[in-house]
């Protein structure tokens, strides 16, 4: 454990240096590796891309019906998440599709309908919208409309999401709120390799269709000691990463790391401690963990990269207000992307970075 934490400090410094060096590229967060392991046993250092690859490897190995498909997955995928899997499991299990997102989603639903496990990749979450009809009208409603006779539970749609430093309008979006309005779907966003492996394996095995959004900036920049063996993390459950009394900070994906740093800043500069919660599951989401925390702290800051209006923060804020009204000592703060398309050269001004979150936290505490 000691050597591990030393390692993580070194890694920490390295990332900080890289980030300082390339300010425009990825200046908005420091990666906080997970220190706790969901299971005992052997671990190996993996970045998030490798952890996702590992989860799919385990699935393809243990489940003969499982197939992995999408645009350019055969050679390993444009983010290398499927690296080596076609060589290992064959061309009929890991394969390219024509360039057509509605086809990919529909094809995946069909596989699931016929009893196979389908892992579909949409190359960027920005391009999931052509598949919106198949995901929203078909996958999400299949069990309900058939009275339980058919379902799309064996379908998992993976898509890289969120800011990457220079992605502009169509390589940066965080579309989770669009899907959070769809009963029947599960929407999940991991914050790093350990979570990604456990949550992806849970999504693949879950009997409901899942949209698994992978913050692409973490694919290579996030690395930590990931258990080698098969494990899952529970869906619909948030994780409390820091415990404090001054405020509750809620986020998911990359933004969790921004909030962890904000909590450090608050500790160092203001001498207060915060609860930091990684929501992990956007739908269905863990109302209990969030509301219990806010009842304790009396203050709540929600932060996400997606635009403010009708972002998932709105749902959280409304529920917290309803459930924790008598405990709230300040209005709920939402620090998010602006209500504009995700811009190219203005990304540093667009993102809800630590300074914007920190300022909001100060206002929240001083209210």
């Amino acid at each position: 454990m000691t050597s591990l934490s030393t390692k993580s400090i070194v890694f920490h410094k390295l990332i900080r240096n890289v980030n300082n060096y390339a300010k425009r590229m990825s200046s908005h967060f420091i990666y906080y590796p997970d220190k706790e392991r969901p299971v005992d046993g052997e671990t190996t250092k993996m970045n998030m891309m490798q952890a996702i690859n590992n989860a799919m490897d385990i699935t393809l190995k243990n489940n003969p019906t499982a197939v992995l498909f999408g645009e350019d997955v055969a050679f390993g995928g444009v983010f290398r998440c499927a690296l080596g899997l076609q060589e290992k499991y064959g061309k009929d299990r890991v394969f390219n599709t024509p360039l057509c997102e509605q086809g990919i989603a529909g094809f995946g639903i069909g596989l699931a309908t016929a009893g196979a496990t389908a892992i579909a990749e949409i190359q960027f979450a920005d391009y999931i919208f052509p598949a919106f009809d198949q995901i929203v009208n078909e996958a999400a409603k299949a069990r309900y409309r058939s009275g339980g006779e058919y379902d799309s539970g064996a379908l998992t749609v993976r898509a890289p999401c969120s800011a990457v430093g220079h992605g502009g309008l169509y390589h940066s979006q965080s579309p989770e709120a669009f899907f959070a309005h769809v009963p029947g779907l599960r929407v999940v966003v991991p914050r790093g390799p350990i979570a990604a492996k456990g949550l992806l394996l849970a999504c693949i095995r879950e009997r409901d269709p899942c949209v698994f959004l992978e913050p692409k900036i973490l694919y290579r920049s996030a690395a930590e000691e990931v258990p080698v063996e098969d494990y899952t993390l529970p869906l619909g459950k948030a994780q409390t990463l820091r415990v404090g009394a001054a405020a509750t900070l809620v986020g998911w994906g990359t933004q969790v790391h921004v909030l962890l740093e904000v909590a450090d800043m608050a500790r160092d500069k203001l001498g207060v401690s915060c609860d930091v919660i990684d929501l992990q599951s956007i739908l269905p989401w863990d109302e209990e963990t969030v509301c219990n925390s806010v009842k304790k702290t009396g203050r709540c800051l929600i932060s996400h990269e997606a635009p403010l209006t009708s972002g998932f923060g709105a749902e959280l804020a409304a529920t917290v207000q309803e459930e924790c009204f008598l405990h709230l000592e300040a209005p709920i703060a939402r620090v998010t992307g602006w209500d504009a398309p995700f811009p190219h050269v203005f990304e540093p001004f667009y993102l809800p970075d630590k300074w914007r979150c920190y300022q909001a936290l100060i206002q929240l505490i001083n209210y």
Partner: protein, 434 residues
């Protein structure tokens, strides 16, 4: 021209020849650069030419319509008559008659406000029964909504179908979907949904899953209309089916209309069939009012697709004799004469009946008796269906997820408490209770 002799077209060898002819004859007859040298572009294998020629819908002969019998139920080419035994033929015809009576009575019951919505199948019964009779019961069916004959032929009872239309407690769909959105796991019929074309890439995915099962002997059939074929999902499905080598039959019911939109406003090419070869699908166009022709086509397609893991596209030509649905009055956009022509001369029921009569399997008396029985079955079933209660209101929140999430449990509780307080404002007595 092989293309012009429709009868031999269904034979796949002949079809392959025809396909070759189709492609070669359209090449401009000019001297080719480099002596017809085939270009090495990765995207297409084709010769260079020095004369510029645009290709359009008139560059190809129209794909002919395969027929087995004429309007009088007479077999045109004895070699093409399928060897169906008497019992099968009678079952096929009886199912068509049953379907048409079910349509008539349920359509009227909607007019009387007894069910909320209905869609008839008039004019397309031949497509349903011809195709269903050529499939194995194990084959998975994805349908659009105007394929009830397939459900009936596969053994779903009128009672089960009517229960769905009423959304009563015996509807396997638990009253959640509009009428005619049938489904049956037991009969390998995937539950229908309203969004058009969505079932098409799904059928392809299911076929891919079947292909991977060792010693697979199943295929998937997917029905869709000429209007749905304009959806992006149709293009996705054709292309995925071809590139991923899937044992799937894509069966288009081209009935001339998508609600009020005639095919002249739906497409400008040679119908749906012409898209098949363009995307690499084995393709056939068939007379959808000729039940035997549809049977032959689907049977051949099934044998081919299961043996080769290659998709087949069948375009069955028909005419939508009825209104689009009970929410539509088709006289607003087409003439009564046009409808009558198709009702009189081109009825799939009439043609099939005449065929059975020529064979001595059917007569006026049997017709009368079966007609009465078919009608009585529907009427009796409807009376029973009307008496059955609707499902417990709690079914409204079940099956959204495999397990009900806490938030939904909370909402269930909220509604329960609300109904305790205001029961008189809700139709609770029409529903089953705990």
């Amino acid at each position: 021209m092989a293309l012009k002799t429709g009868a031999s077209f269904v034979k796949l060898n002949a079809f392959r020849r025809a396909a070759r002819l189709l492609s070669t004859r359209t090449r401009p007859e000019t001297a080719q650069n480099g002596g017809g040298k085939i270009a090495e572009f990765p995207g297409a294998r084709a010769p260079y030419v020095s004369e510029m020629k645009f290709f359009n819908e008139t560059s190809y002969e129209p794909i002919p319509i395969y027929r087995v019998m004429d309007n009088n139920g007479q077999i045109i080419d004895k070699n093409e008559e399928p060897n169906l035994d008497k019992a099968t033929l009678i079952n096929m015809y009886k199912t068509m008659v049953q379907l048409s009576h079910m349509d008539k009575i349920l359509y009227e019951s909607q007019r009387q406000g007894r069910i909320s919505f209905y869609m008839t199948n008039y004019g397309e019964e031949g497509i349903h029964i011809g195709s269903a009779s050529a499939l194995s019961p194990k084959d998975l069916v994805f349908s659009q909504y105007r394929e009830v004959g397939v459900f009936l032929y596969r053994g779903m009872t009128v009672t089960e179908l009517v229960n769905q239309c009423y959304g009563n407690c015996e509807d396997p769909g638990k009253g959640r979907q509009m009428p005619v959105h049938y489904g049956s796991k037991h009969h390998n019929m995937v539950t229908i949904s309203s969004p058009l074309g969505t079932q098409m890439p799904q059928a392809v995915g299911a076929a891919y899953a079947y292909k991977r099962v060792p010693n697979n002997d199943r295929c998937v059939i997917c029905y869709f209309g000429d209007g749905a074929a304009s959806e992006g999902d149709a293009h996705a499905a054709f292309n995925f089916a071809a590139t991923l080598d899937c044992p799937v039959i894509m069966l288009c019911r081209n009935n001339g209309y998508a609600i009020s939109t005639p095919t002249s406003e739906q497409y400008r090419g040679d119908g749906i069939a012409s898209r098949g070869p363009a995307l690499g699908l084995h393709t056939l166009r068939v007379d959808g009012t000729d039940t035997l022709a549809v049977h032959n086509a689907v049977k051949r397609a099934r044998d081919f697709t299961v043996a080769n893991n290659k998709p087949v596209l069948i375009e069955a030509m028909a005419y939508r004799v009825g209104h689009h649905s009970t929410s539509d009055d088709s006289s607003a956009y087409r003439s009564v004469e046009e409808i009558q022509k198709w009702t009189k001369d081109e009825s799939p029921l009439q043609k099939f009946k005449l065929y059975l009569e020529h064979k001595g399997y059917w007569d006026a008396e049997t017709e009368k008796a079966w007609s009465k029985e078919a009608r009585d079955t529907v009427v009796r079933t409807m009376q029973e269906a009307e008496k059955k209660k609707k499902p417990n209101w709690k079914e409204m929140l079940e099956d959204v997820y495999y397990e009900m999430p806490p938030r939904l449990q909370k909402q269930m509780k909220q509604m329960e408490e609300h109904l305790k307080k205001y029961p008189e404002h809700y139709p609770l007595n029409q529903h089953e209770s705990d």
